[in-house]
Symmetry: C3
Subunit: 154 residues, 3 copies
């Protein structure tokens, strides 16, 4: 008897779930790179040269983070609001809603693509409604799986 973890649906879930997490974890790396490049940090101990900065200079630097860095942070936060819920929803969807492999693949692929494009729109500050559109596609995909899972156990 094949366990649920050996079904192609579960394999698709692991594949796209892991890729979504990898996409989100990359935001941490990007934050680190931009912090270094801009010399903008959130903590006094992060300023290597803090000994050479006067207390007032340090205070001013901590109070005015770089605007591009803040943009990266908002983009990361948006991932955190959407990617873990997607993965938890995907787990419910695969285990409870008995979806076809095609249904799984397309939900997962559309979500992943929408989140990658969302970050590109966000980071490059592309004109709206490009970012809103990407967000909405990913959000609706998650809702679609969530409703299927709720319907299956109601």
């Amino acid at each position: 008897m094949a366990s649920v973890f050996e079904t192609p649906q579960f394999e698709a879930f692991v594949k796209y779930g892991a890729l979504s997490l990898a996409k989100m974890l990359n935001m941490s790396l990007l934050t680190g790179v931009v912090r270094m490049a801009k010399g903008s940090f959130a903590n006094k101990e992060d300023y290597k040269s803090s000994g050479r900065l006067s207390p007032d200079e340090l205070k001013a630097k901590l109070a005015t983070p770089d605007p591009f860095l803040e943009r990266i942070r908002r983009c990361h936060l948006n991932d955190m609001e959407n990617i873990p819920p997607f993965i938890l929803t995907g787990l419910f969807f695969v285990l409870a809603a008995n979806p076809t492999l095609d249904s799984c693949n397309w939900h997962f692929r559309i979500f992943l693509a929408s989140r990658i494009l969302h970050s590109i729109c966000y980071i490059l500050a592309l004109p709206q409604p490009s970012r809103l559109l990407c967000f909405t596609v990913g959000f609706v995909t998650t809702c679609s799986m969530l409703l299927r899972a709720i319907a299956a156990v109601w």
Copy 2:
């Protein structure tokens, strides 16, 4: 042989886990609605009329987000601090602690109710300790499941 995913405990987990996620995802919708209603956005490209705003006006708008919007954001962040941990804890609880169906149902129902009431208290700015009480009930429910799961595998 019934798989663990066909037990009523797992069904209860999927049901209340999915409803908790739906509650949390609604905060994104609410944020969007309030942003539109208040005309308060976090990015310059989100201001449709940004062409008509002087750079100083735009800067001032970005620097002073609407207080009610900030309240919604704090409420959403509190959900993010509590709902994904609840679902992951629920997974450990159901799979490892061998709980009765009643124990599952009551843990899950109390948690979901506490989070819905928490958001109502937060958004309406009801006098304390109403919000603190809601938070505490949900938090203790999660801790109760977490301790049962840890005890089961220790």
Copy 3:
């Protein structure tokens, strides 16, 4: 036939996943304690004595949160960026990558230790690169499991 949930690998996952969540949930408690101790809150209804504060005093208090509290919040946010992804990755790793028990135990232990030490470095403001090092060890551990899971289903 032993189900995957009765393997020692899955038990190790539940144990260290639950301990990681417990570590993260403690940040909420710590935030509460520091808010009380410092009298620094994010909402007007949280000031018990708000009736005795003038509107200007209240506004000033809300606009200038305590710096130590902000540090705790950043530490909590860093946990939220890393611990749920670790647990979701661990789930993929255990279910899809067929790891040895030793591989599970060492990935999970190193991650948990790195996050506890990260919080100590953050809260005590220890000189860099102590905090960066702790972050990096936990991050690399998660990436290692994620790559194993992706490789297993590719």
